[in-house]
Symmetry: C2
Subunit: 505 residues, 2 copies
């Protein structure tokens, strides 16, 4: 089959080529896995199957790590001790961590399949969602479809006119110029005279002033395009690339019921190997094995020592860097070299799904330059009566710090206030909210590892190499940071190398 | 709420403003509805609620008309008498008629909500689906994402260079030119030097030669962009506008289980008013009412007369034009003026969902210039084991005539043969297929009414006007031909006018 596909030139080489095969007898070798996030869970599942003795230590009282879903009744505790109790109604949730799965994240998709996790489409681009800038169009939100159509129509017209006026001579051959014009007309919705102008043609992209109807008085009324110069100065074009990015292309997925359905599915398989509320304070290796010092994360009791032949450590680097650990200077430098991004998400419950009922926005994301950065509408339960929970903020960097410097209630209050700029219904319909700032989550201290080309050059291989009896894995040990696929592929690569070392010893 | 929305400039005026209100007493008036497609069903439901005595005559043995789903065990009979027995497995289907619902088809969506029809997203654009031209790239299918990225990157580079070389002087101000360059860089994935070149940046649009991975040997390998001139000459750019068209924008929907879930939901409400297998051969009005002559569509028995005060006729014009009917010359001319499009769909069942398993195409549409025109993958059951049914052809005009000139088995054979050009797995995995050519379906004789501006100018109002006691409705009496929304809005407009006439009489 693969041969047939390459013959067609349509196969991309994926680093995931199907379930890992760990052939050969580990002869009773034991592995201590630190962290029951996706990297740890994958390792536990596969190493157990391969015949290893496996123990997993997890700081939280649940499996999944950042693969996490917050529902009504859940309590969130931050650095500093402030707690939030989620008061969402039954059936509603937010995913504070990963919330979408690209079609080319083959490892995640394959584990979902093998573990029976049902998927549904996640809508990234919604042409009817809003794009908003504080100083754009007097602060009035625009529909994504109008900005997209007017930007593309505007540049198509510009390029077509330049071509027609022979301004591109020497850049485009005469023959190509003819096809270029034809393509711009089709792609940009240009009229015969190569203008992007008010018409049914352009309204069939940007939407109508009055939609076509049926019977008498059904004639559509075209809408007025916005001139390219106004689209340009609005800067709302900056949101148009999002759906074209490889990771956000169609068809994306989410697990039905929340992202932690993946964590729960793994926990069904390897939950008996996991010790929860286990806070690792030190990791020491010697010639024959690795010993972790473990305290009860809830406090009380005496620290214990847990020992195994090998250790796969998936603890986020921001946490690991503060831990007692005897690895090579190179690995220690790598652990300390990767900063973690700050990020915050706010989930808001409303009395009704007004975004669908009033504004016909079904799933997808609205963008804004307000500190909330975006509003994402649920890609499930379309058209349902009753309440709804949306993602009311998802911000990185300075915005995230600013948000989470505030008490939790105040973050929610501000997310509602800012969101009301896009949806005035917020004020009437808001019920309750929760926020998660990853740099304030004790077991993580950040959203994901931030690599630069220079950092990779200097530290990446040292971070991933087997260091004595210790091996690291997680999204931070991958070229797909922040994504579950990165965590899984990192883990598979690590245990593959560990296994070869063990069976070839 | 509407006020708040217009204040934000985000509300488009829709011709559908919620459930129709037919206030006032029809005082026992009766309406004969011809055709139990969506126009007829909506009229039956609303007129019954308003207190009318309603009878519906339907040619087929089921409600829905073109809102139809073909499943295993169904028999399709064409003009000429050839029959096909669908042999799809349980749970699989094709929708020969409408198969998707745009987010702005408010009337369809509202009836789905009111009647409890569950919807799921219909994927129109799939960046990982194929685009194929017989002479493009040696006939090798390309991924939608590579053509999209390379076209957009190519024109962005061209426009950026022309701007930078001052070739656009007089067309774009110096200030706008700076923002234009910035926007083209972001939107087109251009490097700092304004080129669209092989890099992680462009691969993060078009896809990688080797995707990024985790652990060691995880470094991504960028792919080679195709030069703009080669994209242009391939003509594959012609498929790029599809997802930008108002009717195909995100988020589209389909009913879970097949489009006829809508027809079935209506039939639960008004099925007792419908007489099935009722072939109308003549419609005559006089001063006090309308009489239809009705025969049993299965043959046998004597024709009967059915009479009512008013008649709402939703029979497709291609059929109605051949019927005895006493309406004004203007309406008769309108009925005869609108040709119907030929179209064909072919549904194919395969032993497995190879498009997902081998090629990672989840839902969406591949396009080709072969007579099948497209292949659409099911937007449901993603990742399921077992069999799968896809839409193996959807062609209009000459291609449709060509297809349906052949015996049914031969159409399926050719759809498989052509489809194998895009998916060689067809040959191994194919099991069974069915085809529907709308111009050969006895109750329709075409896919939909084809209007031109000139035809509308001359005939549209006469077609929609109340003519004595006869009123027409259906997608053909709307500005949204071929779409269910057109049928419903046409029907609501018609019965609103009829009702005012009755209560004001």
């Amino acid at each position: 089959m693969y041969q047939a596909m390459t013959a067609l030139g349509v196969a991309a080489e994926s680093p995931y080529t199907g379930p890992i095969r760990l052939d050969g007898d580990p002869r009773g070798a034991s592995v201590l896995i630190l962290g029951a996030g996706l990297a740890g869970l994958v390792a536990a599942l596969e190493l157990k199957r391969a015949g290893y003795r496996v123990q997993v230590l997890e700081y939280n009282d649940r499996a999944g790590g950042r693969c996490w879903t917050v529902r009504g009744g859940d309590r969130i505790t931050e650095l500093g001790g402030e707690t939030q109790d989620c008061r969402f109604d039954e059936g509603h949730y937010i995913n504070p961590g990963p919330w979408r799965i690209p079609y080319h994240h083959h490892a995640v998709l394959d584990y979902c399949k093998r573990l029976g996790v049902t998927l549904e489409p996640f809508v990234q681009v919604n042409h009817n969602a809003l794009v908003h800038g504080r100083t754009a169009f007097g602060g009035r939100p625009q529909r994504y479809r109008t900005v997209m159509s007017d930007y593309q129509g505007g540049i198509a017209e510009l390029l077509a006119k330049a071509t027609r006026q022979n301004r591109l001579d020497g850049m485009v051959s005469r023959e190509d110029a003819e096809i270029l014009l034809e393509s711009l007309r089709s792609w940009g919705a240009l009229n015969r005279d190569l203008t992007y102008a008010k018409s049914v043609l352009t309204s069939d992209r940007r939407g109508f002033e009055r939609d076509p109807g049926g019977g008498l008085t059904a004639r559509p009324v075209p809408s007025d395009p916005v001139a390219l110069k106004d689209v340009l100065s609005s800067r709302l074009w900056s949101y148009l690339a999002t759906g074209a990015i490889y990771e956000f292309q169609t068809t994306m997925f989410q697990p039905v019921g929340g992202m932690d359905m993946i964590a729960r599915a793994f926990a069904r398989e390897v939950g008996d190997l996991i010790r929860y509320n286990a806070k690792v304070t030190a990791i020491r290796q010697d010639a024959s094995g690795v010993t972790a010092t473990v305290a009860d994360a809830r406090g009380g009791g005496q620290p214990e020592q847990v020992r195994a032949d090998w250790c796969l450590c998936t603890i986020p680097l921001a946490v690991l860097a503060q831990m007692e650990l005897n690895v090579s200077a190179k690995m220690q430098a790598a652990i300390e070299a990767v900063p973690y991004s700050a990020s915050v998400k706010v989930g808001l419950q409303f009395k009704r799904r007004f975004w669908e009922q009033d504004e016909h926005i079904y799933g997808g994301i609205s963008y804004t330059d307000l500190p909330i950065r975006m509003i994402s509408y649920p890609s499930t339960g379309y058209g349902a009566a009753g309440k709804g929970v949306l993602l009311g903020a998802y911000a990185f960097g300075p915005y995230a710090y600013e948000f989470t410097a505030l008490p939790a209630a105040e973050r929610v209050r501000r997310a509602v206030e800012w969101g009301a700029t896009l949806h005035p219904q917020y004020r009437e319909e808001f019920e309750s909210g929760v926020s998660v700032g990853w740099h304030r989550v004790p077991g993580n201290l950040g959203c994901h590892g931030m690599w630069t080309d220079a950092r990779r050059e200097e530290h990446y291989d040292a971070l991933c190499a087997l260091d004595g009896r210790i091996l690291l894995a997680g999204e931070h040990a991958s070229y797909i940071p922040a994504w579950q696929e990165g965590a899984i592929l990192s883990s598979l690569d690590a245990i593959g190398r560990l296994h070869r070392r063990v069976v070839n010893a």
